[in-house]
Symmetry: C2
Subunit: 168 residues, 2 copies
Amino acid sequence: MSISMHSASVPIFVRMLKNLSNCIDKAAAHAETKKFDPKVLVESRLAPDMLPFRTQVQIACDAAKFGVARLAGIEAPKFADDETSLPELKTRIASTIAFLQGVPAASVDGSEAKAISVPRRNSEPMQFSGENYLRNLALPNFFFHVTTAYALLRHNGVDLGKSDFLGG
Amino acid sequence: MSISMHSASVPIFVRMLKNLSNCIDKAAAHAETKKFDPKVLVESRLAPDMLPFRTQVQIACDAAKFGVARLAGIEAPKFADDETSLPELKTRIASTIAFLQGVPAASVDGSEAKAISVPRRNSEPMQFSGENYLRNLALPNFFFHVTTAYALLRHNGVDLGKSDFLGG
């Protein structure tokens, strides 16, 4: 087996999203033990001008979803970005994983040189080859939000360790 | 060009380490402007039982260094882990990048099925194929520490944005 565009993307996204979902279970249990409203975690931030936990999770899901959809040249499912609780964020993750797992490997493989255009709010779209898109945007941006979500929980006292982040 | 074990690892490590080094420049400038000792940042943590900034940077370097050395089947350079300042951490990053850039692509390519053994402190070594090692340990662990280092600076008021993390 050689590494391929599918094997270098989908299994990473799926595994890390599952780990993040497990971290959310531990966050919910922590809030219950300490008797505080878990929505405090949902709205928590590492800095006043950083995005809250819920948005970190939403963007992690979207980085994976759009990453694979663009490489495969298919439409990504739309999510309403209306999650306000830990269980709803888990559902968002599960929907994202279901989408990722439904994309045929063959539709992602061979996308190394595919022209990828990524829209931006206030300027021209960014243009990438498929491989540069995966390497320079999709993967780093995904890991940024997954790690920041983990860091937020850790910063707020949830008993997590590296093995929760990396998975078994 | 097809994606390869080299193209899926070394360019990611090098680019993200360069971005981290640039973030450290901004951290140093911030400390100077605000007139505080930059060693406060070097020793800062997101939680009392998380590793400080300097160790996040050291481990990010090591994750890249060992990641590529193991795939290539070569010895990684030894670093003393004695950095106590932002400039020393930048030197550590530069030494790591120099090592990564000196590894011939051909020695990393084709390592998908290579048997990789990763020592652990208190238990048996973890065993991976090369591709699973890259996907499940080397990349996630690298991004964990790079992102946590960024989050630490951001949490402490350094004026950074996503574009500093991702690079231009």
